[in-house]
Amino acid sequence: MRTRSILASVLVLLAFVAVAPLHAQEAGAANVELIRWSIITAGFALGFAAAFGALAQARGLAAAAEGIARNPSAAGEIRGVLILGLVLIESLVIYVLLISLILFFIKPFGG
């Protein structure tokens, strides 16, 4: 029963996706709405990405500081691993920044 309802909702979603371009071509009014929402989404997406990226980086940094405090002779290796990890976390935030910039400046939804 549950799988059938999931299937039905997926089908409805697909139908919406298939019909959506027709609506987008139809009128400019819906387009303005879409642009407005895309800008709001871009700001919120970057906020979320920055918040959780900062949280993750803070956890890594705290663990590294603790490790260095316990064993100062391992500071060099810990620093290397820390920088690598921070950059890998940060690049996810950068992806969201790029998506936000695309939404702001290139405006894929017209306008």
């Binding site: 690598l84 690049s91 992806y95």
Partner: protein, 267 residues
């Protein structure tokens, strides 16, 4: 983004000098240029400028190198090369020294490119996705070629399917994951550098358009930090990818005695 780009005199000079020549050369290939636009884009001019500056600098320094009486510049450069050597040996092992030419070139190019954006009248070539994608593709092709050279074609392809020590029936799961992970390295390498440098330039431009005096300075200071850090990260990831590709696995758990295992370097 056209409204944020201001004309740079050096780009205009190069275009006035070489533009008609390049346009005439590209015309048979089917490229058409509008009369008002620059034929040679900003980032190509800036990359060429880096090449010219590094070449001239090396030629100037070459005459003053000496073993008995090294100057300050020579000691500085030797420290830089030594740091790269120690990084390569730490990750790859004693045979890592042979990868210095490409790794060092990429590092010098990206460092110079990042810092060029802070000089008035110039722009950072690495704030264009074309340049960073070029660097990332170069690294990507290079480490695959080195992996094939080091391990042989069949062994290299096999280490995609089944990591050493793992049973062979894991291959149908591992192969798609490995292929996606290797393809995503191009995207992550290029977009990380591009996003950092482009975002930093954008922030400076926006602050400059609000208050064009002293306010952008902290951001430019931050640009000094991120520029060096991103160049270092690009080089570090290049070295890690090279290590993953060229590591020859012995028959059993006889790992080469490296300092650090590449912890989760699959992004």
């Amino acid at each position: 983004m056209e409204q944020l780009e201001h004309p740079l005199w050096i780009v205009q000079a190069v275009n006035a000098l070489l533009g008609p020549l390049v346009a005439a050369a590209l015309h048979p290939l089917g490229f058409e240029f509008e009369p008002g636009r620059d034929v040679i884009p900003n980032y190509v001019v800036m990359s060429g400028l880096i090449v010219a500056l590094v070449t001239i600098g090396c030629l100037l320094i070459r005459g003053r190198l000496s073993v008995e009486n090294p100057g300050k510049t020579q000691i500085l450069l030797e420290d830089g090369v030594g740091a790269l050597y120690s990084m390569l040996e730490e990750w790859i092992g004693p045979k890592g020294r042979r990868y210095l030419p490409l790794v060092g070139t990429i590092g010098v190019f990206i460092l110079a490119g990042n810092y060029m954006g802070l000089v008035p009248g110039l722009m950072a070539p690495t704030s264009s996705i074309n340049v960073t994608l070029g660097c990332a593709l170069t690294v990507w092709v290079y480490y695959h070629v080195q992996g094939v050279k080091e391990q042989g074609l069949w062994a290299y392809l096999k280490h995609f399917a089944a990591p050493p020590g793992a049973p062979i029936f894991i291959a149908p799961i591992m192969l798609p994951i490995e292929i996606i992970s290797h393809l995503s390295r191009i995207m992550s390498l290029s977009l990380r550098l591009f996003g950092n440098i482009f975002g930093e330039e954008l922030v400076i431009v926006i602050l400059f358009s609000i208050i064009p005096f002293l306010v952008p300075l902290p951001m430019m200071l931050l640009g000094l930090v991120t520029g060096g850090l991103q160049a270092f990260i690009f080089v570090l990831l290049t070295v890690i990818y090279l290590q993953g590709a060229t590591e020859v696995h012995a028959h059993d758990h006889e790992q080469p005695h490296g300092q650090g295992e590449p912890a989760a370097a699959h992004a």
